[in-house]
């Protein structure tokens, strides 16, 4: 079970409150978590990563365990603390300034 934290705008779009808990099949990677997230909440398709290329949108970031995982490979294993459910996988919007 993997815990996922979404930013307010995406929680509203998916009509969820608080953290999500996802069961991910196979190795827990960014791709597997996002596939599971989009399968459960199809309204999030295209809002975190591009429909076609599946690349992360430019102003979306992935944090976990005090680290920025945004530039890691989508197929790299997530930290053990995330796969065990001890720490959440955090999706957030980049700072805007102003």
């Amino acid at each position: 079970m993997i815990r996922v934290v979404l930013p307010l705008h995406l929680r509203r779009l998916a009509q969820v409150d608080g953290e999500l808990r996802l069961d991910v099949e196979g190795p827990a990677t960014q791709r597997a978590v996002l596939d599971a997230l989009e399968a459960r909440h199809p309204t999030l398709l295209g809002t975190i990563r591009d429909h076609g290329t599946k690349r992360r949108r430019a102003y979306v970031r992935f944090f976990a365990c005090g680290r920025d995982l945004s530039h890691e490979s989508a197929d790299a294993p997530l930290p053990e603390a995330v796969t065990s459910g001890a720490e959440p996988f955090v999706v957030l919007g980049a700072l805007a300034g102003g």
Binding site: L10, L13, T43, L45, I48, H51, R57
Partner: protein
């Protein structure tokens, strides 16, 4: 009893303003924000089923969402948001003149079909026209527009290369007129399969060839349904008119204090009565002399009168964007426009007297009006 519903898109959400047919200044209710915090470029209702609304919701962070309502904007449902260019997207010109791949950014304008609530057109940035035949669940590009030949020479304006105007012919479903900043106006006579530029007569002194076939910064085109061959255009500079479906254009700026502006609209019952909001440019983009004035021509252009009653006539430095003006079809005709200062002004008498119906919204991007029976 008749009424009106005003659909307002803003930088931070959508608002639905409603009134009975009297449209008195104190008689409006404000519902919203819907999709709080998102940019709402456009909200428009289906002429075939007025409770069917479509909204373009977008964010630089989270991309594009299309929302649909089947109860006049009380509740909404996200529908399809995948806008994939047909085939190999190709390139247009970038700001430095180099080829740049077409990249979808957002939907600027949604135009529901006149006869089918499930068919809706979307004008997008980077400029292209899409259509959905299933109520917004899936979108297909009408790729003949980008592919007709001049596409590689289109270049974005400062606001982005957006397709912002979609005019559907009231009796000939094969004819569609669209406009792109800053490529110009284009027309299809076969329901969107093939296209050609319709910019003859436009003169843009700021571009290398002022009378080029493409490259003109068209801001808006308006049409009265009873005379679909008569088109009125607000260009970056110049107010223009065509009497032959866009085959040729002539300037009708006349005595306007400034022929720059964004929106243009036609009176619901008087096809020769048109409205613009002059804006001072090239770089300031606020009303001349700090006076917010709508200009009305009852002669289809050239002779204009300032409409000021109820509008701020000092210290006003707002802008009125291209999709932020609309008319109702009551008698007398109501005119509505929204400003970047968050006011929505209405006139229930064809423009003679104005009053704000709401005045502290986020910057207004679009205004559409539905007349309800």
């Amino acid at each position: 009893m008749s009424g009106v519903r005003v659909l307002v898109g803003t930088r931070k959400g959508a608002f639905v303003l409603t009134s009975d047919g009297k449209r008195e200044a104190r008689g409006w209710s404000v519902n919203g924000p819907h999709f709080a915090g998102w940019e709402i470029f456009h909200v428009k209702g289906s002429p075939a089923e007025p409770n069917r609304l479509y909204a373009s919701q977008s964010s630089s962070w989270f991309g594009q969402v299309i929302q649909r309502s089947d109860d006049g904007g009380t509740t909404w449902e996200p529908v399809g948001n995948e806008f994939a260019y047909e085939g190999v997207p190709g390139t247009h010109q970038w700001y430095d003149g180099t080829p740049h791949p077409w990249e979808f950014a957002r939907v600027w304008h949604l135009e529901p079909a006149l006869d089918d609530p499930d068919t809706v057109y979307a004008g997008v940035e980077d400029a292209a026209l899409f259509r959905s035949n299933d109520g917004g669940k899936s979108w297909q590009e009408l790729a003949g527009l980008r592919g007709h030949g001049s596409g590689p020479h289109w270049q974005p304006g400062a606001g982005g290369m957006c397709l912002h105007t979609i005019l559907l012919h009231p009796t000939d479903p094969r004819r569609i007129v669209i406009a792109i900043s800053s490529a110009g106006a284009f027309r299809s006579d076969d329901a969107g399969k093939t296209w050609r530029p319709i910019n003859r007569g436009l003169v843009s002194a700021q571009i290398p060839n002022p009378t080029a076939e493409v490259g003109h910064c068209v801001h808006r085109i308006a049409m009265h349904p009873s005379r679909p061959d008569v088109l009125f255009m607000q260009k970056h500079w110049d107010v223009m008119r065509s009497d032959d479906g866009g085959e040729s254009w002539r300037e009708v700026s006349g005595n306007l204090p400034c022929d720059f502006g964004f929106p243009i609209e036609v009176h619901a019952h008087e096809p020769e009565t048109i409205y613009v909001v002059p804006i001072k440019s090239d770089s300031e983009h606020f009303p001349p002399d700090g006076k917010l004035r709508v200009y009305r021509s009852r002669t289809g252009g050239n002779e204009w009168e300032a409409l000021t009653n109820g509008l701020p006539q000092r210290d006003c430095y707002v802008n009125v964007l291209r999709d932020a003006m609309a008319v109702d079809s009551l008698d007398p005709c109501g005119i509505y426009f929204g400003t970047t200062g968050g006011q929505v002004y209405a006139s229930a008498d064809g423009g003679d007297r104005w009053a704000p119906i709401v005045r502290d919204l986020p910057p207004v991007l679009s205004v559409e009006v539905q007349t309800l029976s």
